[in-house]
Amino acid sequence: MLFYNLIVENKELLKIIYALIITIICFFIVIKTNKLFKISSHQGIRYLRNAFLFYGMAFIVRYFFGVLHFHNSLGNIYSFLIKVFFESFIIMAGFFLLYSLLWKKLRSKANFSSLFNKEIALFYGMTFVFVFLDFIWHTGAFMFISQIILFLCALIISFTNYKNNGKRHKFLKFYFMAMLLSFTAWILNALAALYFDWDKGIMMGIYGINVIFFLLFLYGIIKVTKIK
């Protein structure tokens, strides 16, 4: 109970540390995947890199705004900034993660830019609509629903990949686990926000799951790129 109280009392500080840890993990993943993309020009690696670039940007924004909010420098605009920047980057990251699994099936061709092209413009458009609707209705429902659907799709694809090639490629199991964790985290997030008034216990559980999600990817990237 004492430990729980300690966490609750230092909630804002812990949120900043949490954002910083995830930012560092994401940028490490971006550097590693970018190196592999530069050599191979593989589109799947490119979109996976972009996913973690957006996750990294989301959490760096959360870190900086969190620090400013901690020192009471942002006042009322904190929630507005978080809504616009954090939410946009998180939704885009989800799109990129799913697209990294789907691009081959959609027969998408290599574009000069993976951040600005016709296919990705659709993601930006959808992200803008979700963030705008969440903003005017003072909710996060559109983000939650979009992410739950995205991760459900990613969960199904990763499970199929694991069933087909899991024996030969060990990380596919962990990839599926990561998708399952993130899917669970988004459902809990939606429940906490929409029905449980951001219950602290649920939120701490979500932070824990999210850290495991990013650590799983970090583990996979270190382990897989180590093999020569």
Partner: protein, 90 residues
């Protein structure tokens, strides 16, 4: 029926053919690559533009391909890349 080679596998095969001979003539490379002349040209142009191979022309106007440092780097990293793509289901 043999499985269609993936883009990266084709690149690996072309680079390996050049690596084995150190210098290889375009016609010989075309035969060993097992590609249509049109596809071969596309791949070769891509490999030259990416700096994986060099097109050398000697005094007698004879053309040969050789591997660059980046080409050698790709071959040594190929297993890592292949492993990464398969393990992440990309």
């Amino acid at each position: 029926m043999t499985k269609k080679r993936e883009r990266l596998e084709v690149i690996r095969d072309i680079l390996n053919s050049i690596k084995e001979k150190r210098k290889i003539k375009p016609t010989r490379l075309l035969y060993s690559s097992n590609l249509s002349p049109q596809m071969f040209k596309t791949y070769i142009n891509e490999l030259i533009s990416k700096g994986f191979i060099n097109l050398d022309i000697d005094k007698k106007e004879k053309k040969t391909f050789s591997l660059t440092k980046k080409g050698f780097e790709f071959l040594s990293e190929y297993r890592v890349i292949e492993n990464f793509i398969e393990n992440f289901g990309l």
